[in-house]
């Protein structure tokens, strides 16, 4: 007979235990370790170092499926995310009628290994939306509280962009942006012609070297594969690696956190977790616990951490944990630019993302929806991958090929000519906007389902509201105008109407989950104070998207990083003052 299951307590007592090594957790580990604080960093996934593990510069034929998506890598066989829409052994459930799509990466660095690097500061209005339009709530902090941290991370992590002086899209400390590509020049001309601004994008990619540890970008457009020379921001390469080098961080990989442990005073004492390799139970103790497992996973942890002092989950007398769950809005359209058929070939890769974008430009007083969205663009001569050439029968009969009208479909040398002629003329655009955080959108603990580790899973209950649907309608109308003004032919995304919510993506699909552990001054309506500190457990913090009151028309990662730095400095200060 072997040993029966026991709980093994790690002997080392840490100053801080952090759960999650993505943007928030990585920044916290970095700041705290550099201040001499002893950290235990728990990560549910395996180790990942872009320098070793990236598929960068692999050719399409080096994947047997030519880069197609799998359940292990939904964004493609070369993409840098381990897992995504599903994880074997780790289900989640939906209330009837809910369509929440949940992306979970399991790896050191989390989603920051494969993300789009879109690094946009929130603007002053984004913290005070209720005061402006009466919807949702105001943050307990404002732009002035976070600006110093945006400045610091711009310099520490690197971001390119241009100074524009926009009132609600604050300029950063920017590296030079790359020149627009050909389709982006078409877009710029067409969009500005109808009053839609197009400016350089703001991506955390190093067009110039900023330190010895990271290289400069070499324009292979594969940021999504993670960069072997660390030229783009991933928490794994830019934060965790230097944090480990201080000697103050013990990184425990393949550690699935189960719950936050508390004492009879209701303070956090550490975290219990299961080691996914030996399937044994462990506990690690710390003076402070920081949750950064993603908005929903951190909420799940808090809700699963029940005790006499915290019968409703840790620091949850307000009952808000899991609620106000929201994501970015998303709708898209695309087609071809016939002027670009038969185009001259050259290396058009550039950086791993758009070189230009459109920040929100309108006045809501003249619109039938609140808040706004930015527009992302793509197109051009991309690297062939699975799906290349699909559906040519929908194009090669519609457009003359080298001056010849052909029958749609076909085969043979004539068909090869068609693929060559049509290559590189595609263009697409997508809106990414602000949804309203509603109490009626939430995740909660499913009362009867556990995952393979016996941890109760989340059940989601979300739906898009009329606010978001009307915003998507506006996106489609705007895209149509830009496409027509460019002389482009729309080939997808135009079948938008009320019956399909104007192509609005399901909540969760944009992968910017936020709001489930929101901060606020009112303890009855929030779980955290303005330092991301749990109201009812002063040594517990949350530094991922959970703390967000609203999420703006800007992707949230840069704000997660800034807030995590701010909270970490607060923790250092409080430890010195011995108030925690």
């Amino acid at each position: 007979m072997g040993d029966t299951l026991q709980v093994k307590k790690q002997p080392k007592q840490y100053d801080v235990v952090i759960v999650g090594s993505g943007a928030g957790g990585g920044m916290a580990a970095y700041v705290l370790a550099n201040a001499g604080i002893k950290v235990c960093l728990l990560e549910a996934g395996p180790d990942y170092d872009p320098a070793k593990n990236s598929s960068q510069l692999k050719n399409p034929w080096e994947s047997p499926r030519r880069g197609a998506s799998t359940k292990f890598r939904p964004f493609g066989d070369f993409d840098a995310s381990f897992w995504g829409w599903e994880i074997d052994g780790e289900p989640y459930t939906h209330a009837a009628g809910t369509k929440w799509e949940w992306w979970r990466a399991r790896m050191v660095g989390g989603r920051t290994n494969h993300w789009g690097r879109i690094s946009l500061r929130f603007g002053p209005k984004d913290f005070k939306r209720k005061s402006i339009d009466g919807l949702g709530d105001d943050w307990p902090i404002g732009y002035d509280d976070i600006k110093p941290y945006y400045d610091k991370i711009d310099k520490l992590l690197g971001v390119f962009g241009s100074m524009e002086g926009l009132p609600n899209d604050p300029d950063g400390i920017f590296l030079p942006p790359p020149k627009p590509r050909l389709h982006e020049l078409f877009i710029k001309k067409a969009a500005t012609g109808i009053g839609v601004p197009v400016i350089p994008s703001r991506l955390s990619i190093l067009t110039k070297q900023i330190n010895k540890e990271r290289g400069a970008c070499f324009y292979c457009a594969q940021c999504g594969r993670a960069c072997k020379v660390y030229a783009d921001f991933s928490s794994s390469s830019v934060l965790i690696k230097p944090a480990l080098a201080t000697g103050n961080v013990d990184l425990v990989t393949n550690a699935m956190a189960r719950e936050v442990l508390t004492n009879k005073e209701g303070l956090a004492t550490g975290v219990s977790y299961v080691n996914k390799e030996d399937l044994q139970e462990y506990q690690v103790m710390g003076k402070i616990v920081i949750l950064a497992a993603s908005a929903c996973e951190s909420a799940r942890l808090m809700l699963n951490s029940k005790s006499d002092q915290h019968p409703n989950g840790i620091s949850n007398s307000s009952n808000v944990i899991g609620k106000y769950l929201h994501d970015s809005t998303g709708a898209a359209m695309g087609g071809v630019i016939p002027q670009l058929f038969g185009r001259k070939r050259y290396n058009e890769d550039g950086v791993g993302g758009m070189h230009v974008y459109t920040p929100w430009w309108l006045d809501n007083k003249k619109l039938d929806f609140p808040r706004g969205y930015h527009i992302e663009y793509w197109g051009g001569m991309n690297q062939p991958a699975y799906g290349f050439g699909f559906g040519i029968e929908g194009q090669n009969g519609k457009f003359p090929i080298n001056g010849k009208t052909k029958e749609a479909g076909g085969y043979g040398a004539s068909l090869k000519e068609d693929y060559r002629y049509l290559y590189g003329a595609n263009v697409g655009m997508a809106g990414r906007g602000e949804s309203i955080a509603l109490e009626s959108n939430f995740c909660e603990i499913d009362p009867s389902v556990v995952d393979k580790y016996g941890i109760p899973v989340l059940r989601f209950n979300t739906k898009n509201s009329d606010f978001e649907i009307k915003q998507a309608k506006h996106m489609k109308e705007t895209f149509k105008e830009i496409m027509h003004n460019m002389g482009a032919v729309i080939t997808w995304g135009d079948n938008a109407g009320p019956e399909n919510d104007y192509g609005l993506a399901n909540p969760g699909n944009i992968i910017h989950e936020a709001g489930t552990i929101r901060m606020g001054d009112d303890k009855k309506k929030s779980a955290l104070n303005k330092w991301s500190q749990a109201h009812e457990c002063k040594n517990l913090f949350n530094v991922d998207g959970g703390q967000f009151v609203s999420q703006a028309d800007k992707n949230i990662t840069w704000t997660i990083l800034a807030l995590s730095m701010r909270t970490s400095e607060y923790i250092i200060d409080q430890l010195k003052k011995q108030t925690i």
Binding site: S63, P64, P177, K179, L185, K344, D349, F388, Y411, A413
Partner: protein, 220 residues
Amino acid sequence: MDRRKSIKALLIGTAASAVMIEGCDTKDKKKPVATNTPSINEDDRMAEEIIANKNLREAVFFTPDEMATITVLADIIIPKDAVSGSASDAKVPDFIEFIVKDMPQHQIPMRGGLRWLDIQSLKRFEKAFTAITPAQQLQIVDDIAYPEKVKPGMKQGIAFFNLVRNLTATGFYTSEMGVTDIGYAGNKPNLWTGVPDEVLKQYNLSYSERELKESIRFEN
């Protein structure tokens, strides 16, 4: 030069001294598992992926007869021409063999379509598709290759041929031969200096003074 060594060499470069480095031969040093199976990249895979890929490689779906028909069709769709070789030359049938195991949703349409094709061939010529002459093969293909010219009873053939065309094209243009044919010039370290001047001229476009001034520039 080993790709990893060249990546290390790339960990340099400021705007003033950025170096133009040609992409080097990325030949995979790992030995392929089976000679007729596309090479599996494994140095960057999760443990679960390695197991899943191995199971896929070892599974068998298409029969030798089906593979023979697929090969004939693929070479009709993508034959050798002045620019590049045929689908067979680019090992597209091997890709199709793998992809239907990887994507089970293709299995019934492919298997059923292949049999539909053979039934057509038997009806017309009393022999299976691979046993008739090339001219006879094209007679059948001409009836299923043009979705906007559908004869009665041929709709299912059109759907099948669209699928085979898609898979053949994707397999071809993601092969080394096909990537060269289509003219994709990227996937190598380089410096993005913008749209080439002659291309800007061709479309009557230009960079603004501000773009020229503020965009990243590289001096050699």
